[in-house]
Symmetry: C3
Subunit: 159 residues, 3 copies
């Protein structure tokens, strides 16, 4: 079931290839478009008029507001020190501290970027392709690099 029965899709959501995605337990806002090879986990909320590009992974604990662009191959995280097991047995949801991440209205995340959990990506900010974000991104900032630093302001660029 590539789009699970518990997914809530609002009006006009477009999933280009429903058989090539993995969505479960999430809510997707109206008019949002979702590309191929995307996984969106339970508890995720995505706003209206977003673009979620191919190959991206949006994990539990992520909130994406309206008019956000998620590039291709973007990876969110929700665990600072991930482990497969605890005391030799596979971890379960109970063994795990979820850290939340939020992408605010109108922001854009460039392709292949990695977002460390706990970060707030500010309104209309742009995260450069290939960046690793490890702290909050101010509204309207352009950030890039590993770890990402502010390299400009979208208002100066007219974008």
């Amino acid at each position: 079931m590539p789009v699970a029965s518990d997914v809530i899709l609002n009006t006009g959501v477009l999933i280009y290839h429903p058989n090539l995605v993995n969505l479960y337990g999430c809510i997707v806002g109206s008019e949002t478009k979702i590309g191929a090879f995307v996984e969106i986990q339970k508890g995720v909320k995505i706003g209206r008029c977003c673009k979620i590009s191919s190959h991206s992974f949006i994990c539990e604990g992520v909130i994406i507001e309206d008019e956000v662009l998620i590039g291709h191959g973007v990876m969110f995280t929700n665990d600072l020190y991930p482990r497969a097991t605890v005391n030799g047995s596979l971890k379960t949801d109970e063994d795990w501290n979820l850290v939340e991440t939020i992408v605010k209205h109108g922001a854009s995340i460039g392709s292949n970027a990695t977002i460390r959990c706990g970060a707030v990506i500010g309104e209309h900010a742009i995260v450069g392709a290939g960046s690793v974000v490890i702290r909050d991104v101010p509204p309207y900032a352009i950030v890039a690099g590993v770890p990402s630093v502010v390299i400009g302001d979208v208002r100066e660029k007219g974008v």
Copy 2:
């Protein structure tokens, strides 16, 4: 339709898993091999005897010449300041300035590399795995890092 009817595949193209790719409006040269979970967009031209590895994304505006290797999870881009919307509505093709990228004859792009649009990757150059390319790569250069810098010459390595 994971391989759309408008895709032009020349003689001997091998798509290992036609149901696990997303190709549309592109031209693929003879003998080229394409892995799983690959997306290739409209307008892309790929040369002969290329290897396009799994999980890679090749967007509109990219030209790939002959004998090129694209590693796994490579992401191309075609928009320096991507946005989901303009004036509150989803962007369309008309709202968008395409920036072209070219990968020249015999070059190799390492896995998980990110290519900022506008770059020319020179003949026989090698882009190291995980690099973020933000400017042209000279012919025969080996580049690596974020952003990528020249760290060697393939002729000295005999590769």
Copy 3:
């Protein structure tokens, strides 16, 4: 055949979406879980109680011991200077020097990390999300960055 007939799955292996993976010629240990959009190549051995997360690529030449976590979008490599062709024809297995990589017991690789072949990731080490690993990672080390460097010790963090 997204899970090829030559794959050996031990007791209790869980592949969430067998039609959205590409596994061939590999051995997977008991209780290990494998996410969507994962490719695992021939010759790979994966231990018991591992978690192989979505969008990851595990190539020939990689050995993963027990209780290892592979994050989302992790790319392994097995060729330092990859090329599509030799003397104008596509390379075959005979034209290719495989370099091995090992991930030791209990280690974790963060999402979007890239692992250059030849590295040994030590027991219980953690590789930060988005890192590019180009040399061995000591046991219990926490590494991050491009290229990755040691930034801590898991025993000090209690993880």
